[in-house]
Symmetry: C3
Subunit: 136 residues, 3 copies
C-alpha cells in the first residue's frame, strides 16, 4: 500500500470564502503515485468544510445566502461568549465537512462538473486542509 | 491491496426520486473479493446524493418535504439563470452527498436498518454513481 | 494491508445526547498498529451521527437548538405513525452522519480542536458505532 499526506494552508482575506482546490488535490494524487485508491480531503479546523460541487459564482453565493438564512451568523448562540463563530461550526456540519475522493488509473475519478472547494467560515487566520492519499 | 470500481447508471422518470441501491453495492462488494476494507459510494453529479437511512416510504417523503421547506426548489437563486436546479445543488450538501461503507468478512458491515439510497434531485437524464471498493 | 474493526456500544440516558469518543477511537487506532491509513467511524443506526467538532458544552446545545428550530422533533411527519423519531433520521443527515479520520505516524492526524462525537438522537436503547481502521 502506498500513502501520501500533504497539508494545504489557507489564510483568507474574508471571513467567509470558498476556494477551489481541485488542482491542488490532483497534484497530490499525481505525486502519490497511487493508481487505485482513495483521497481524504479534510479541514483540520472545525469552522471550515471541504465539499464537492459546481464552480459557479452565483451558486457559491446561493450556498452562503441559504446558510445565513437557515443559521444566521450574527444570531444568538450559547457558544458566542467571547467568540462569534458558533454559526461557522454549524454551517460546516450542514454542508458536510469532508470528502473522500476516488482515484482510478492515477486520476481523480470525477464526473464532468465535480470540483473540490475549501469553504472557510471563520477566516482571516491560517488554517490547514489535510490531503491523505492511500492505495496502490 | 485489491480494488474494484463500478459505475451504476440512473435515468429517473421524476425530477426528485430516492432509489434503494443496497443490493447493487453488495453485488460490487462480493465481486471485488475484498474481505476487509471500505466501499466509497459517490454520485458523479453535483445535484444528487448517496445516503444511508431507513427504507420507509413515509420517511423518504418527509426528507423531501423538509428539504423543500428549508430550501424551496422554486425559490430565488442567483444560479437559476437559464438553470432551475440551484436547490438541488444545496440539498445534496444538506443530506451529505456520499458515504463510505465498511466491509467486514466480505460483507457490508451494516446495522439492522441501514440501507443505501441514491437521491436524485435533478433527474430525467442519465447520471452515474461510482462504487469503489478497496481492501484485502 | 492491516485492518481492525471494533464496535463501541452506547445506551444513553437521554433521548438526545452528544458523547465524546475521541479517546475510544484513538485506542482502536493504537491497537490496530496502522501507521498510515484511514479510520471510518460510522453509527450502525439511522437515528444517530458521528461528527468532528469542538468540545464546548454551549456549542453542543447550539447544535441541538438549531436542529430543533430547523426540523422540530415533535413536528408532523409521515414516518411518525407508531414511531416518533422522523426528525432523528433527518437530523443525522443534516449533520452528516459519519466521519473518515486520517492516521499519520500511528496517530489521528487532527488539528488543535478536532474532537469526535457520537450524536444520539433517539436514545435510551443500545446502539453501536463501528470503528474500522485500514492502512499499513
Amino acid at each position: 500500500m502506498k500513502s501520501k499526506t500533504e497539508y494545504l494552508r489557507f489564510c483568507t482575506k474574508k471571513k467567509i470564502e470558498f476556494i477551489r482546490i481541485t488542482e491542488d488535490v490532483k497534484r497530490v494524487v499525481h505525486e502519490s503515485g497511487v493508481m487505485e485508491g482513495l483521497a481524504l480531503v479534510n479541514p483540520m479546523h472545525i469552522t471550515a468544510a471541504v465539499i464537492v460541487n459546481d464552480d459557479e459564482p452565483g451558486l457559491i453565493q446561493d450556498f452562503i445566502d441559504n446558510l445565513e438564512r437557515l443559521v444566521p451568523y450574527k444570531g444568538k448562540y450559547r457558544h458566542n461568549v467571547g467568540e462569534d463563530n458558533a454559526a461557522a461550526h454549524i454551517w460546516r456540519q450542514l454542508l458536510a465537512h469532508q470528502v473522500v475522493l476516488p482515484i482510478t488509473k492515477g486520476e481523480l475519478d470525477f464526473g464532468p462538473w465535480e470540483q473540490v472547494f475549501y469553504c472557510e467560515f471563520d477566516g482571516c487566520r491560517e488554517k490547514r486542509v489535510l490531503v491523505k492519499v492511500i492505495g496502490e
